[in-house]
């Protein structure tokens, strides 16, 4: 066996024999292996590499499961005590030890919905402009600015909300709508509005007492404008969130539009399509699933956002019996802001367990939204690309 091992280099051996030392033969092993020893070392390296990356990906699962386990464990007292009523009722009272989270769940979902309604059209419009229409000299600085917006810490947005957005909303939106007597308009101007208002406007300005809410009485949209005019409100939270998620959605959508093959656009232009026809009928349908993904990314950020929302939403459930109000002007409360506000002073026991359960619900809502989003992206992509 031993003398057959170097059979591979033996063909060249006679040629080299005169000038070169005999070909180096590896330590002869019992098996006539043709694989050089270095390779088995490399294979060992492969195994280690595989194991390390496997552990890295495993750690993510472990962290998620561990988190779920801990959250569930710590919230068990509340789960046992309140059951499903935790998410269907709205009473939260530390003194009577009665904890229910509906207003917070609603607040999280509603503020995020407002944010999307405001930001999606702006984001998609901006992305289309940046990728399709903007001249090169605008494209780069504008893209840079948008990415910069995404990097601003949320507390800065919150401060801006408190000092700029809320005073603005209070003075120029809430008060004129809710309390038309507040003297930001001159009286005679208001009077002239009233005269017109009696016959033509859908809502009336003819009472000046603070309890009268004209827009709130308009059929169909009135429910959006009830409530107080303190400034800290669902609308403020939704607007702040919209400003925060717009750069995300814009940047991702822009990248998706840029990634569409040039041949798609050229195919459309070659048929005599205009730029608008090409964007509307070829570019956007091609990018549909990606754009949905971008919106979901923004939604994910909006659902979890804590600081900026806490600073402007009012941190008070609406005073309706259900603790839920669709009014944009009412204050609200989200799951994350409840946690931020109440965790420090929570009394150990049921109170703490209830707060942890809110965290668990927030976790669940986020996971649920992401799963729905994945499915949506998957099915739209399938729809667009014919299952390929």
């Amino acid at each position: 066996m031993a003398d057959r091992a170097p059979s591979v280099p033996s063909t060249s051996a006679p040629l080299l024999a005169a000038t070169a030392p005999p070909p180096r033969v590896s330590k002869s092993t019992s098996a006539p292996s043709r694989i050089p020893p270095a390779s088995s070392l490399a294979r060992f390296g492969d195994k280690i590499y595989g194991a390390v990356t496997f552990l890295a990906s495993l750690s993510i699962f472990i962290i998620i499961l561990w988190l779920l386990y801990q959250l569930t464990g710590a919230s068990l007292p509340a789960i046992h005590k309140f059951g499903w009523s935790f998410i269907t009722k709205s009473d939260w009272n530390e003194e009577t030890n009665s904890f229910h989270a509906l207003p917070f769940i609603f607040g999280t979902l509603y503020s995020s919905l407002i944010a999307l309604v405001l930001s999606v059209p702006i984001s998609i419009g901006a992305a289309i402009f940046l990728s399709e229409l903007a001249p090169r000299w605008i494209r780069t600085p504008a893209t840079f600015l948008i990415e910069l917006l995404a990097a601003i810490p949320s507390v800065v947005y919150g401060l801006w909300g408190i000092f700029i957005l809320i005073p603005f909303l209070k003075l120029y939106v809430f008060q004129p709508v809710i309390q038309p007597h507040v003297p930001i308009y001159h009286r005679h101007l208001v009077h002239s509005v009233i005269r017109v208002g009696h016959s033509h406007l859908p809502f009336s300005y003819n009472h000046f007492d603070t309890t009268h809410i004209p827009l709130a009485q308009v059929k169909g949209i009135g429910f959006l404008f009830t409530g107080q005019s303190a400034g800290y409100s669902m609308l403020a939270a939704g607007m702040i969130l919209a400003i925060m998620v717009t750069p995300f959605i814009t940047a991702v959508t822009r990248d998706i539009l840029r990634a569409i093959p040039r041949s798609q656009r050229e195919g459309s232009y070659a048929l005599g399509a205009t730029q608008w026809e090409t964007i509307k009928q070829v570019v956007i349908p091609y990018a549909k699933s990606g754009i949905i993904g971008a919106v979901i990314l923004g939604l994910g950020r909006a659902l979890g956002e804590t600081m900026a929302v806490t600073m402007v939403i009012g941190n008070q459930s609406p005073s309706t019996p259900s603790g839920v109000s669709l009014s944009l002007f009412d204050s609200g409360y989200t799951m994350s802001s409840v946690l931020a506000n109440k965790f420090n002073e929570a009394i150990p026991g049921l109170n703490l367990a209830a707060l942890v359960e809110i965290a668990l619900v927030l976790f669940g809502v986020t996971v649920f939204v992401n799963i729905v989003a994945r499915l949506l992206v998957f099915y739209t992509a399938k729809d667009v690309h014919g299952g390929k």
């Binding site: 070659a270 048929l271 005599g272 070829v282």
Partner: protein, 274 residues
């Protein structure tokens, strides 16, 4: 048919005569065209007479400018920043690069089939109806007619007539390319530009598309860029040889392949380089 060349100054007649052995009507006339991508001089003093209702093939090694030239004919290069064209290209005597020319209208008259099949993300039917629809046709019955006629025209009808609502992406590469040809036919162009239409296809699909070109040239003027010299020899009546941005030789396909006048052409068609 009216012979457009008779309306041209005599020097252009000479040009036309020097490039063709049999007199035919001129569809596209290219005079002294230079083209630049920013600083890169991509086309140098190109003069070509493209005859009506024939297949004109453009051959040459990669990067020689043949695709760039093809794309000047429907102003597709307008979409690229920093390009510049000098000289004159006329379609039926009209200057394509005149300021008054509506590019949208021009591209309706000069259709294009691309190297890689590029169906739109919609159904087979909608892919074909796309062109007529953007040009204002909404009548369902007429659209149906166009879809059937163009799919028959591109020899795809029998394969897809039962699944017109299916996504165009579900078709094979060769079918997709025939769909793209049908889509081009649907806007009723006068000229069809083909930019290496078979380079991504298998031999069988290539054969079918070559057959198709044979049929199409009865009604359309076809200009095809190809890397495949056998293909140029099979499908075209005129061939132009491009090298390093210049058009080295242009003439009857038989003559280019059997008795080229230029050394470079001979070397290329005999496979010495390229």
């Amino acid at each position: 048919m009216m012979d457009v060349t008779t309306q041209k100054p005599s020097s252009l007649q000479d040009l036309a005569r020097s490039q063709t052995s049999t007199p035919t009507a001129t569809k596209i006339l290219v005079e002294n065209v230079d083209f630049y991508y920013s600083a890169f001089h991509a086309l140098k003093t190109i003069n070509i007479v493209i005859p009506d209702r024939q297949v004109t093939a453009l051959i040459g090694p990669s990067g020689c400018g043949k695709s760039t030239f093809l794309r000047t004919l429907n102003r597709m290069n307008d979409l690229i920043d920093g390009t510049k064209l000098t000289g004159k290209i006329s379609l039926d005597g009209e200057d394509l690069y005149d300021k008054r020319v509506d590019v949208v209208d021009l591209r309706k008259r000069v259709g294009m089939v691309f190297q890689k099949p590029n169906p739109f993300p919609m159904s087979i039917y909608d892919n074909i109806a796309y062109g007529p629809r953007i040009h204002g046709l909404t009548n369902r019955k007429k659209l149906n007619e166009i879809v059937e006629r163009t799919l028959r025209g591109s020899a795809l009808w029998e394969e897809v007539k039962d699944k017109l609502k299916a996504s165009a992406f579900a078709l094979s590469g060769g079918q997709q390319q025939r769909l793209c040809i049908a889509r081009t036919l649907a806007v009723e162009p006068e000229v069809i530009l083909m930019d290496e239409p078979c380079s991504a296809l298998d031999p069988n699909s290539t054969f079918r598309i070559e057959q198709l070109m044979e049929d199409l040239k009865k009604d359309y003027t076809i200009v095809i860029v190809t890397h495949n010299m056998q293909q140029a020899a099979r499908v075209s009546q005129r061939t132009g040889f491009f090298l390093r941005g210049e058009m080295k030789e242009f003439g009857d396909t038989d003559q280019i392949f059997t008795s080229p006048k230029q050394k470079d052409t001979e070397d290329y068609v005999s496979g010495k380089f390229g």
